[in-house]
């Protein structure tokens, strides 16, 4: 398979059919002035199922969003277009995520929680945005699986039989891995670089140009969730940390313990956050 063919398929509008037309329309939206958030909110609210899930998620204390959010337009104003877009996208793919890999949604949620906590500790200006890119960091797995199901299953069994990280198995089968595929999707959907780069480079944080801190955080958050053994991302291995990234974040043992404690809380609240 040629990378161009894979890219064309993943960038096509129906690459992920589970996304409702309303969410799809929002995904293609570029930043707009706050004034039209009411209007955008009304459009999204027509999809009642996704609206209910969105409000449930942003109001769950597990994620630590700012206070009571009672409508989509309020969420847009408080969290910004890209965060709401990202969460809606994440929520749209929960079921396919679980079909792609049982445990991938949990892995994604937990990575989001860990990433947000690190972002706050490190004073990153938009912690919700870091959280959103962490929530979507493995979206490329979903896109590869939907569009190339037989090949993706091969990658999964290769990872299992040869004891490989899933990304190496994907590299073997596709000549590229889910981070590249996820980066294509993020750009296609007009996410800002600060949100797209952590998705594209969470395994190779040195390659980021515009979002070094955000990418470093998602890289480490992903690793910590795997280290604790929560969820499933395609293999049961902890990958090596990028030494410079680890050193630059300077997380203390206390920081790590606090993050892991939050993950324990999340693990005991899975029904509430599985949606």
């Amino acid at each position: 398979m040629k990378p161009q063919e894979i890219r064309a398929k993943i960038e096509s509008l129906d690459a992920i059919p589970a996304i409702s037309p309303v969410v799809r329309r929002l995904l293609l939206t570029v930043e707009r002035p706050t004034a039209s958030y009411t209007e955008l909110g009304e459009i999204i609210s027509k999809d009642q199922a996704i609206t209910a899930k969105l409000l449930r998620m942003v109001n769950s204390p597990i994620y630590g969003f700012p206070g009571r959010i009672s409508s989509v337009s309020q969420a847009l104003i408080l969290l910004g277009l890209h965060v709401v877009k990202g969460i809606l996208l994440g929520l749209s793919v929960v079921e396919i995520m679980e079909k792609t890999m049982m445990g991938l949604w949990e892995h994604s949620l937990f990575t989001a929680i860990a990433a947000k906590t690190i972002a706050i500790k490190k004073g990153v200006p938009e912690p919700e945005e870091v959280m959103t890119s962490a929530l979507l960091h493995d979206i490329g797995k979903v896109a590869l699986k939907i569009n190339f199901p037989a090949e993706y299953d091969q990658a999964l069994s290769l990872a299992d039989s040869r004891d490989l990280l899933i990304r190496k198995a994907e590299d073997d089968i596709f000549g590229l891995n889910h981070s590249t595929a996820g980066g294509w999707l993020a750009r296609q959907w007009n996410f800002p670089v600060t949100l797209a780069e952590p998705i594209a480079y969470h395994h190779k944080p040195a390659l980021t140009q515009y979002a070094p801190q955000q990418t470093a955080i998602v890289h480490v958050a992903d690793l910590l969730v795997r280290a604790r053994g929560f969820g499933f991302g395609g293999d049961r291995l902890v990958p090596p940390v990028e030494p410079r990234v680890w050193e630059s974040l300077r997380l203390s043992e206390e920081d790590i313990r606090e993050i892991l404690d939050l993950l324990e809380d999340a693990a005991h609240s899975v029904e509430a956050i599985t949606l």
Binding site: G229, L237, V241, I256
Partner: protein
């Protein structure tokens, strides 16, 4: 913190997060001690899941958790910083089991 269904909430438990009604209004704040009245009011407001303080006791024995941890780190023993990270996770897991 753990999330339990309204059916299993018992008097004496403590809320770990506020309970809101459908309009987003807070009915009970974090720290509220559950009573029969509180349960009844949460139920009539349609609350299905409630966050409470505390954690269930771990299901797997500690040594099983620790050997699974070793398994997960088996490829990266030599990699920089990974022993340090594993050690922190190990101490965290041990702390979940109290003084054992």
């Amino acid at each position: 913190m753990m999330t339990v269904s309204i059916e299993t909430v018992r008097p004496g438990m403590v809320l770990a997060g506020s309970v809101v009604n459908e309009a987003g209004m807070t009915l009970f704040g974090k720290g509220t001690v559950i009573t029969d009245v509180v349960i009844e009011r949460m139920r009539s407001a349609g609350a299905a899941l409630v966050m409470i303080e505390g954690r269930p006791t771990p299901r797997k024995p500690l040594n099983e958790e620790l050997s699974m941890l070793d398994e997960r780190f088996r490829m990266v023993h030599e990699a920089p910083h990974m022993a340090e990270i594993q050690e922190m996770v190990r101490r965290h897991i041990e702390s979940l089991y109290g003084a054992q």
